[in-house]
């Protein structure tokens, strides 16, 4: 039996994100951007998805013990998923507020940790979901309608 629907999975790419490695931080987002360009996706969507991917990647480099960034491209949408192995966000609602940050001074010296990351991912995406459990990790999903 064959099934046809416009939401058929086209491709999935998974990138491993290393905690604390600022030299390669952003490489996954850079590869995602290249991939979306190769697929001929609309420039505005590429831009929003790339910003979200970069913010999510930096979040994991800065705050987590490491995780993965995944991009799923179907006929109708791009789904960006970021999942890490902890430590988790204590108060997700607070983390979503612009300007709230738990980043250290050394992170701020690199130009990050202004508390704009999560709100910016939400702003860039068409659908946004985040859940976090202390001691377990954080799962973030951002969707972009094609």
């Amino acid at each position: 039996m064959t099934q046809e629907n416009s939401g058929d999975l086209v491709m999935t790419h998974v990138y491993k994100i290393e905690a604390g490695n600022f030299t390669i931080a952003g490489e996954a987002a850079s590869n995602i951007k290249k991939l979306l360009r190769q697929l001929g996706i609309d420039a505005n969507i590429i831009r929003r998805a790339s910003i979200a991917a970069y913010e999510a990647e930096m979040n994991m480099v800065i705050h987590s013990v490491g995780g993965h960034l995944e991009i799923e491209i179907t006929g109708g949408e791009i789904v960006l998923k970021a999942y890490d192995n902890g430590p988790g966000i204590e108060d997700v609602e607070l983390a979503m507020e612009e300007g709230y940050s738990t980043a250290t001074d050394s992170t701020r010296e690199l130009g990050f940790g202004a508390g704009m990351g999560l709100p910016n991912i939400k702003r860039c995406s068409d659908q946004f979901h985040i859940q976090s459990e202390m001691g377990q990790g954080t799962y973030l999903e951002a969707k972009f309608v094609l």
């Binding site: 600022f22 850079s30 831009r47 970069y54 130009g111 202004a114």
Partner: protein, 113 residues
């Protein structure tokens, strides 16, 4: 405004990107906070900053920033310059402070976008 004009107004030194000096920038942004840059910058922007780490280039790449001006006479490391070459991003360096450099470009007609 052409990137070439940005260079002239700031009396800036070209680090890389000679081939792209005739590209147009539509707006400017001055910040050392890449978090803010990521939240507010539009495309075809010139970014003025005192930061010179790889994250500046990554941020520029994600946002389609065409040119970066390092203020206060800063020069990035060879690795950072190499990253800019790979991404066709113009790098300039001026002795002006961030405030002065932004002021000169604004006076020259460039806006925040």
């Amino acid at each position: 405004m052409k990137i070439r004009t940005v260079k002239e107004l700031l009396d800036a030194r070209l680090i890389v990107g000679e081939d792209f000096l005739d590209q147009e920038v539509l707006s400017g942004c001055g910040s050392d906070l890449m978090s803010d840059v990521l939240a507010f910058v539009k495309e075809q922007t010139v970014l003025l900053t005192g930061l010179n780490n790889p994250q500046v280039i990554r941020t520029a790449e994600v946002l389609d920033v065409s040119a970066i001006v390092f203020v206060r006479g800063k020069t990035p490391s060879p690795e950072v310059i190499e990253m800019a070459i790979e991404r066709d991003i113009v790098l300039l360096s001026t002795d002006d402070t961030l405030f002065e450099a932004c002021g000169k470009l604004y006076q020259g007609g460039l806006r925040g976008g």
